[in-house]
Amino acid sequence: MFGYILPEKPEMKIKEYELFRAYYCGVCKSLGRRSGQLKRFLLNYDSAFLAVLLSAVSGDTPVVKQETCIAHPIVKRYVVKNNGIVDYASDINVLLAYYNLEDDKQDEGTFISHAGTVLLRRTFKKLKRKYPAKCDIIESRLNELHKLEKEVCTSMDMAAEPFAKLMEEVTAYEPLCKDKKINDILRWIGYNLGKWIYILDAYDDIEDDIKDKSYNPLVSQFDYANEAEAGFKERIRDRVEFNLTCSLDQIAKAFELLEVKNNVGILENIIYMGMLRKTEKILGIGSCRKVEKSV
């Protein structure tokens, strides 16, 4: 369910691209330093976006250094250093990865999910002590989600609600949310991000879910009746596209109210183009049909 929030690289300025990567590397290094080297495999682009967004809202200029790392041992890359927001993004990355593995373990019980939760347990406990309120909310949202899945909920809005609320919670970074205005805007961005991710992921998983007979909100809302999967996806495409674009439109509108001064180019690129590109790719209406996983 993660890694959908990507920039539209061809439309980025080089300096924006470098800075985005510096945030990405910053989150990665923070993961390694604070949670252990192994956790760096959990890194995803969504947390880099979170770091860029929150950092823009805070208004602080990031401290950037050139460093090497395991993946790039020779050429030095820019890395955002000593940044509380980057650390927060990396914590959230681990937390969500842990909950995701826990979820897989209960659903499918694969070896990886068992091994993963064991490896992550200690870090998870540490983070749970650090963010007790956030963790409680995330857990109760996930329980709601499980309940809706079990009841085979037939409304994508209702099914998406817990995950959207979860993302809302994650985006509301407390030190910035003392300002009511920023709190409201960040929460609305988070809510719509979660909604977009959930529905996009549901559309992406239609074939697999039909094959595995697992719950999929779109399959149950639009009465899938043993038709060809491609035909079904075609039939619901416009409606799903409408919903996804609604969320993106709301994210854009909320973002315009933020009045950020830093990282504007990167954020506009992701919100107006990167996420639209991803939407079109997964719906199969863009120019490149194949979904690319990395930048």
Partner: protein, 204 residues
């Protein structure tokens, strides 16, 4: 008051035309129509007020403001034909008491077109776009002659076009080869070079 030039996003000492142009663009962006049924509408109104103040301030020295404060934020509802109950619900929706409005509607059994319309508005505020759309659609089907319902449904569609328009203005999908084409070209050139004995891309 903040720097009015900064609010309008222009350099200090900009000409009257530049101020007007910037003002118009900004107003379009934060116009109540753009934020209708959006939980952040009050923030947009605040922003608009700020823009109006900045514009008024800058225009005071140059020339009397011609446009007048035509972009005021109060929207009046078309109350004709609706009974008191639905008006009450409307008041709650407008003042942001979505929960109260929703409870009122849920307890009301006479599900006519205005019921579906108001329920649609509430869903929109909550971010339940799919339910909002189907409720608006039902309202329009039940009362096809009602301009307000039809207008609300159209607005949901145009909001999405606005977002896309914004993306295209920023260069999305506009002209030039996309990445796939670039890769294809490179690969073709590589093949050609190899046929000719050279090599464009060393590794393949």
């Amino acid at each position: 008051m903040k720097n009015p030039y900064e609010i309008l996003g222009i350099r200090e000492g900009a000409s009257e035309d530049e101020i007007k142009k910037a003002y118009r663009e900004q107003v379009k962006k934060y116009h109540p129509d753009q934020y209708q049924d959006n939980p952040l509408s009050s923030l947009a109104e605040e922003k608009l007020k700020e823009l109006n103040e900045a514009y008024d301030y800058l225009m005071k020295n140059a020339s009397p403001r011609k446009e007048s404060a035509s972009y005021n934020n109060s929207r009046s509802w078309n109350n004709q034909g609706d009974n008191d109950f639905f008006n009450q619900v409307r008041v709650h929706v407008n003042s942001g008491n979505v929960k109260v409005a929703e409870d009122m509607l849920n307890g009301y059994s006479n599900r006519t077109a205005p019921w579906y319309y108001l329920k649609g508005l509430i869903f929109m505020r909550k971010g339940w776009y799919d339910e909002a759309y189907s409720h608006m659609q039902t309202a329009v089907n039940m009362d096809p002659s009602n301009f307000e319902y039809r207008n609300a449904l159209n607005k949901m569609n145009t909001a999405n076009n606005n977002y896309r328009g914004n993306a295209y203005n920023r260069g999305y999908n506009r002209g030039g080869p996309d990445l796939c084409t670039v890769c294809q070209c490179l690969w073709c050139s590589d093949c050609c070079c190899e046929c000719g004995g050279g090599d464009l891309i060393g590794c393949c």
